[in-house]
Structures are given as C-alpha cells and as structure tokens.
Amino acid sequence: MPISAEHAIPLTLLVPVLGFLAIWASDKSPNLREAATFITGAVLLGLVLIIFTAVGKGHTPGFILLDVIDGINLEFKVEPLGALFALIASGLWIINSLYSVGYMRGTNEAHQTRFYMSFAIAIASAMGIAFAANLFTLFIFYEVLTLSTFPLVTHKGNDAARRGGRIYLGILMGTSIGLLLPAIAWVYAITGGGEFTPGGILSTHMDEIGPLLPVLLGLFAFGIGKAALMPIHPWLPNAMVAPTPVSAFLHAVAVVKAGVFSVLKIVIYIFGIDLLSATGAATPFMWLAAGSILLSSMIAMNKDNLKARLAYSTVSQLSYVTLGAMLATQMGVLGGAMQIAMHALGKMTLFMCAGAIYVASHKTLISQMRGLGRTMPITFGVFFIGAMSIIGLPPMGGSWPKFFLMAGAADTGQILIIAVLIISSMFNVIYLLSIPVQAFLMEKDDTSSKPKGAGKDIMIDWNNLKEAPFWCIFPPIVTATGTVILFFSAGTLYNYLLPIIRSGL
C-alpha cells in the first residue's frame, strides 16, 4: 500500500472535508454532487481499510493533529474497537448514501445539497471519535457530530422538525456540556491526562477519587447522551421527524454508535474493567441499562408508527452495549463491542425497509401495513431477516452479542441479567416479527370487499408488485446479507477484538 496507516488517519478527516467542498461546489448538478459523495465514501472506506488491516496486525497507528493547550492534544491512536467502529461507519455510509439518493430523489426533498454536505461533516467527525487518542479529542468530535447532524434532523424545516431538532440539540448539547465536559475535566485534573490507556488510567489514582468513582462513571454514562441510556433517550424518538436516510444514519451508521462506542471505550481504557469489577462501581448502571432494555421494549410494543417503534427498539438495543460495558467482564465487553457491529447492520436494514415502504406506499403506521407484503415481498422479506438479527436468532449475526452478554452475566453470577436478556428477546419477537408476519399473512384493509381467507389472496402477486425504486431496495438487501455473513465470520471478529480485553490483563 502506498499510504501508511499513520498517514491514513488524518486523511480520513480531510477526505470528507474535501468531499464537503466538492458537494458544495457541485450544487447545480445533482449527478456530479452525488458522484462527489460516492467518491468520498469509496476513498474513505479504502483509507479505513488500510488502518483496519494495520490494527489487525497488532499495530496502533497514531497521529498528533494539534497541540491545543499545552499537553492537551488533538491526537489519534487506533485500537481494534475504534478501527471496527470506523469500518462500520464508513462502510455503512456508502450504503446509506446509495439509499439517500434513491429516497431523496424519490420523495423530491428540498435542500439536498445541504443534506449531503452535513453528512460529509458528520462522517468526518465519526472518524475523529473512532480514532481519538484521548478524552479531549473524543469530546471535540462528539460535539462536531451533534452540530453537523442538527441540519439533518431539522431538514424538513417545518414546525415539527424544528421542535424535534430543538429537543435533539438541547438534550445532546445539554448532557455533553453539563455532564460529560466536567467529567472529562475531572479526569484530566486527577490524572493529569486523559489518554486512552490499556487497563485504564484511574486505577493508579484511586486515593484521589475514592468513593466518588460511581459519580464519575454516572457523569460519563449520562453525559454521553448519544448512548441513549434511559432517561436520556427522548432525543432519539424526537429525531424521527427527519427523512429516513437520516434516521438510518443516526441509528445505525454514526450517531448512537458513536455514543455507545464512547461508553465502551471509556469503560475499557479510562476506568479499566478490573477497577470497575473490583469496586462494583458499575453495578447500579448495569441495572439501569437492564431496566432501559426492558422498559423501552415495552414502549416499542405500544407504538403503531413504524419508525417510532424502531426508535424505541434502538434505545433498547443500545442499552445492551452499555450493559456489556457495565458488566465489567471480558465477555461482557466483547459482547458490547460485537453488538455495535451487529446492531448497526440489523437496524440499518430495518430503517431502510421502513423508508422503502414509505416511498412505495406512503404508509407509516404498522396497522396500515397488513397485507402489504403481498405487493412488497422483497422489502418485507428483507425486513424479516433484519428483525431476526436484532432479536438474536441464528443464523443472523445478532445472535452472537447476546450469547457473549449472557456468558458475561454468567461470569459475574448475575442470573437476573440473563433473565432480562431472554425476556427482552421475547419482546423483540413480539414487536418486530409481528410486522412482516401481518404484512404477509393478514388481509389488506382496503380489500375487505373480497371474501376473506380466499386462497388466492394469500399468495404473492408477482405480476403486480409495487416495490420501491431499486436504490431503496438494493441497500437493505446488502445489509441483510451482511448480517448473515457476520454470523459465520464472528470468529474473525472475535479474534480481531481480543486485544481490547487482553491488554486489560
């Protein structure tokens, strides 16, 4: 490779910024503009792959961008978890962009240039979060991500969008400035630095923090609002006012993933698993995450709006990652890390299907989707696969994190947590699988004039399909296939992630 991993790191930030300028410059010509997005995406993915493989060989490439306040640097250093997150984000961004083009053109949305420009900045900041070498760098890119996604959330520009955007920005900025920033400053004041260090940095400073360790952990757990740990979750359902590609981006590609990634990274590299399991500081947050899993599943069941249901499902699924981190065992952390990858693919699939349904039939309520599977069999088939992965059924990738989390819970003797995981999966079956099942098997409302239960109506009418445009269908097929592939290649992923727990020993 002509580019070393060290040089690839700053380029992952620079390339999207160049893409941003190119998109801006080609405002007048949509085709050129979309080409700029895809070229940026392809180059970015290539760069991330270089870094990813280098990390896989055991390197930890680093790069110092700026020395801001003496000793506090904007610095990058890649470890397996960050490399994985970067790969997911940059890979799914391309798919998301394919889908965006189909969706945005299909629904004739306005201000598309601004839309793609915001995406480019958002993906750059996701890269910054993934590769951050210290808390300071992480925080800065975390804030940039919040600000750059704000125009996406408020894209429609009507009162509802403005209201949703205000809640989005208010909660994310409020928690990050009000809780995360003091937590970070606190860590810097105690330790004199916030470098992500294998094994954590706080264990040698216990006499300065002592009984306040759970408080500090709480500041991080709630301060990282993007992880949507209850009760910091309302921004997520409210952000549903955005166009569907934005929802997919928020839920699968970057935003919430950046949140849970940060939680996981801080638990592993700042606190250290050993410190947390020795002090038991994480136990209250483990229960909080468990409660969050169940509660949001229950809320999801009561939502008739498909996107709202998926949003609460995300809140629930994100807490799996937090739970994995707070279990403070090796298996738990690995489970959390895998959940980031698996949930990304699964939820991406579901959101893109929801968008495809909207583009093709303009239906948003689940109760209206009965029988729709007969005219949109591909969409609902793909939805089925995605839902299976989220639930955690083999042969979908989503089954692995659940397995690891249960193993982690068994390690710590938390039998109740295993029960929580099982109950949650059953809830998932109810609220996710019921959608394609109803779509395929039940009668369409508006065809009630026909005799019920007639054999012919059950069949899919292949000659009369009303599917969404190709570019709305193809991307979810890719991600759904991805969930199956990930099931069989979980071993590779496991070995790739192993260093993050091994270095903790």
């Binding site: 801001v68 306040i69 003496d70 920005l169 900025m173 400035i177 009000g178 003091p182 400053a185 810097y188």
Partner: protein, 503 residues
C-alpha cells in the same frame, strides 16, 4: 536617546499628546484617518512591548527618570503586557470599524470629538494597565471613565435613553472611583507610599483596621467599575444605548482593566510573597468573591435569556462572563488566575465580535431588537456568520476560544477540589446555549414566502473586515493557544502565589 528604552512610555505619551489635536481637525474622514493612524501606532508599540517582555522579562521604567517611590514607575510584566496588547489591538480594530458606523449613528459635526474621546478612553485604559503606581491608577481610571461617560452619551441621537444611561454610569462610576481613592488614602496613611511594589513590602505584618478598611474600599470601588454582580446595574443600559462601536470597544476592554486592577491589588499587594494574606484577603475570596461570582453567572445569564434587545442581552451576558473571571480569581491558585486572564483575553475577542455584528445590523436595519435579526443569515450572511461563530465561542463550543477558557477554568476548580463551582460553570454555560441559540435560530429561520422581508445590503467592508479579524481570532486562538495560555500561565506564575486557603 534609544527609542526602545523609552518604549513603555510611548503607548501613553503618544495618544495623550496627539488626541487633543483630533478636535481641531475637520469632521469626518480626516479626523478618522488621523485617529486610526494613532491607534495603529499604539498597537505597534504595545506589540513591541509584549515581545520585549516575553523575550527579556519584566521592564521597569521610571517616568522622567524619577526613581520610585517618589517618582512614578511604569512596570510591565507578562500580565499587563498581554492586557496592553489586547486593549491596543481592539482599539486598532474598532477605529476602522467606527467610520461608517459612527457616521450613521451620531451627528457628523461631533465626529472629531468622538474620535478624541475614544483615543483618550483608550489612553486611560492603557495607563491604568501599565502603571506601577497606585495613585496613577486612579488618575488614568478617571481619564478613561470621563471620556466613557461622554462616549455613551453620544448614543443619544439614536436613542434618548443614552443620556440617562450615561448619567447613571457617571454617578455609579464616580462612587466607585471615590471608594477607590478613599481606600488608597487609607493605605497611604498606613504605609506612606503609593508605589505598588513598595506598598507590598511595607504592608507585611501591618494587618490593622485601617489596612482592612482600605482593602474593603478598594474592593468595592473596583467592584463597581468592573460591574461585579450586584454592582452591575449601570452596565446593561450603558452598553445598550452607547453607539455600537463604543459598546464593542468598552465590552472588550473597560471591565477587563478594572478586573486587572483588582488582580494587581489582590495578588501583588495584599497577598504578600511570603504567603501571609493581608486585609483578610483569603476570607474575602472564599466568602465574598466566589459566591458573588457564581450568583452573578447565574442571575445575569438568566436575565439575558429574557431580553428582547440583543445589545442588552449581550450586556447581561458580559456581567455573567465577569462572574467566570471572578470565579477563577477567587480560587487563589495559579491555575485559577491564568484561567481568569485567558478568559479576559478571550472574552474580549468574542464580545468584541458580537457587538460589532450587532453594530452591522444597526447600520443596515436601524435597530438592535431581536426582531431585526429575523432571517439575517440570508439577508446579511457575513454578519450573521460572524455572530454565529462568536456566539458559539461565547457558549464555549470546542475549537473556539470560549472552550479554552472554560476548559482552563474547569481544570482550575477541580484542581483545588471545588467541584460544586465546576458544575455551576457548565450549568450556566447551558443557559448561554439558550440565549445565544435563540438569536441563532431566528437568524436561520427561512423566509416566510407570503411575507418576504425586504432584502438589504451586507455591511460595508470597513466594518466587516475588523469584525472578521476578531472572528478568525476566535477560532485560530482556540486551536493555537500559545499566545494566550502560555503568556497567561507565565503571568500567573509571576504573581508567585502560595496556594492555600481556597482548598
């Protein structure tokens, strides 16, 4: 005679001699050009001075070669060199900015007087900062204050309320100055000297009632001048009704200079080098300054949220920001002091830019109520952009100077174990999110298709360029903190604090 040797005197002598000539010049362009040239000359001197001090250490200059304590000493170390640089830099930007803005806002016949007063005001502020003589501080403070009263009153052509605002300011400012001079008198009585360094030496072991009351008078007097909550009542009206460029200049410099005087008195005079506090300094810091700072941060921020007038809103925000500076000062540690000084500098950058942006709006749209900002992002994109960036800096968004300030302040509070104030810092910056966000939202609002706003021209280049220099400084110095943080840290070290008390 070597000019470099006389350098400390030049930033004061030059404008003091040349400013009065301004009123003899023809109105309009010529007097403006003349005053601008002087302001740039002063900036050049101050930059040289900062360079000298940074490279070769503190400079002591005896005015007229009279040795202290009898003669007046100018003493420049990193702390005041940084402030001198700041004042002169803001001055050098405000003068070019003023031309168009002042033409629109005040009577053209008054322009020579305006420029002369602004030059004198700047001279006074520079003098307060540079001098090492306590009584000289009072003299220069009055030079700057008297010209400020006149400058505020010049806003009367736009809004008659400027007259009462100026009169209020005059009364309060005079009370402050009187208190200050009473305090000085008591200290002079106790020590028999007016030279600051000399005074410090003589105060050691002299902790009697007279010294304590002197301390109290100086503290309250300066508290009035720097608009310490709850002595801030003169400030919102004065800032709101003064001509735009005056507000930009004052907000960026005047209160900082008063705060600097307080720092000087606290840490160079009352906090003796051997760590003994005189005049109950530490008790004052902990039980008066810190609570007042924190309450000021909150109350003023909250009041700012409910202002309908953007200039008043920013003025209240200034009161809140002074709270941050006082909080850093009250920690009694090196980190706290350097945070205060960094914030003094950074706040000048953001408030200067913000008030200049408001000035541009006034220039084109004739008012500074919140309704004038509707849809500004489309109507005057450069002005709106400047407002947004410096507004984000005010909130403390990363990659701006505001974040650097806040970060240093947080570090300082955690360092001395004061973690309740640290949470209050972030909580009050959340209130800043609300009041800044409110304006930004209105500026970004898409035009109403049924009722389109008349389009306006962007502000003239002469106003945009100085404003954007400050905006770029907001971002550049947020990334490259050598100038501010390193110098402030060096300056704080020079105060030779013995950390105690606040923990």
């Amino acid at each position: 005679m070597n000019l470099i040797e006389q350098l400390p005197a030049l930033p004061i002598i030059t404008p003091l001699l040349l400013a009065p000539i301004t009123i003899l010049l023809p109105k309009g362009k010529i007097s403006w050009l003349y005053a601008t040239a002087i302001s740039w000359l002063i900036f050049f001197f101050c930059a040289m001075l900062l360079h000298q001090v940074y490279m070769h250490g503190p400079i002591s200059y005896f005015l007229g070669n009279w040795a202290p304590p009898l003669g007046i000493e100018y003493r420049v170390d990193l702390a005041n060199a940084l402030l001198l640089f700041l004042i002169s830099a803001i001055g050098a930007l405000v003068f070019p900015y003023s031309y168009a803005s002042i033409m629109a806002e005040i009577d053209e016949r008054q322009t020579p007087f305006f420029y002369a007063a602004l030059l004198l005001c700047m001279t006074g502020l520079l003098g307060v900062t540079i001098t090492g003589d306590a009584f000289n501080v009072f003299v220069f403070l009055e030079i700057s204050s008297l010209s400020t009263y006149a400058l505020v009153a010049l806003g009367a052509r736009q809004d008659r309320r400027a007259l009462t605002a100026a009169f209020n300011y005059l009364v309060m400012g005079t009370i402050g100055a009187t208190f200050f001079v009473i305090g000085l008198g008591l200290l002079y009585q106790a020590t028999g000297t007016l030279n600051m360094a000399d005074m410090q030496g003589k105060l050691v072991g002299l902790d009697n009632r007279m010294v304590q009351s002197g301390f109290a008078f100086i503290f309250v007097g300066m508290g009035l001048k720097l608009a310490m909550f709850p002595l801030h009542l003169w400030l919102p009206n004065a800032y709101a009704y003064a001509p735009s460029s005056v507000t930009a200049f004052l907000a960026a410099t005047a209160t900082k200079v008063a705060l600097y005087v307080l720092i000087r008195f606290f840490y160079s005079i009352f906090h003796a080098a051997n760590g003994i506090d005189i005049g109950s300094l530490f008790a004052t810091l902990q039980y008066v300054v810190m609570p007042v700072a924190v309450i000021g941060m909150f109350v003023a921020s909250l009041v700012a949220v409910f202002q309908d007038d953007v200039k008043r809103m920013l003025a209240y925000s200034s009161v809140a920001q002074i709270g941050y500076m006082l909080l850093g000062l009250s920690l009694g540690s090196e980190a706290g002091l350097s945070a205060t000084m960094v914030h003094m500098f950074n706040h000048a950058l953001m408030k200067g830019a913000l008030f200049m942006a408001v000035g541009c709006v006034v220039f084109r749209l004739g008012g500074h109520r919140i309704s004038h900002f509707t849809g500004l992002a489309r109507r005057m994109p450069w002005t709106a952009g400047a407002f947004i960036i410096s507004g984000l800096s005010l909130v403390g968004v990363p990659l701006t100077v505001g974040f650097v300030s806040k970060w240093m302040l947080l570090q300082a509070t955690f360092e001395v174990g004061q973690w309740i104030p640290s949470f209050l810092i972030v909580a009050s910056s959340l209130i800043a999110v609300v009041y800044v966000g409110r304006i930004i939202e209105i500026m970004l609002r898409s035009p109403d298709p049924d009722n389109p706003l008349p389009s306006v021209k962007e502000a003239p280049l002469l106003m945009l360029v100085p404003m954007w220099i400050l905006v770029i400084a907001n971002v550049y110095l947020g990334l490259q903190t050598d100038l501010t943080v390193d110098i402030a840290k060096g300056a704080a070290e020079a105060f030779d604090l013995v950390v105690r008390g606040a923990r």
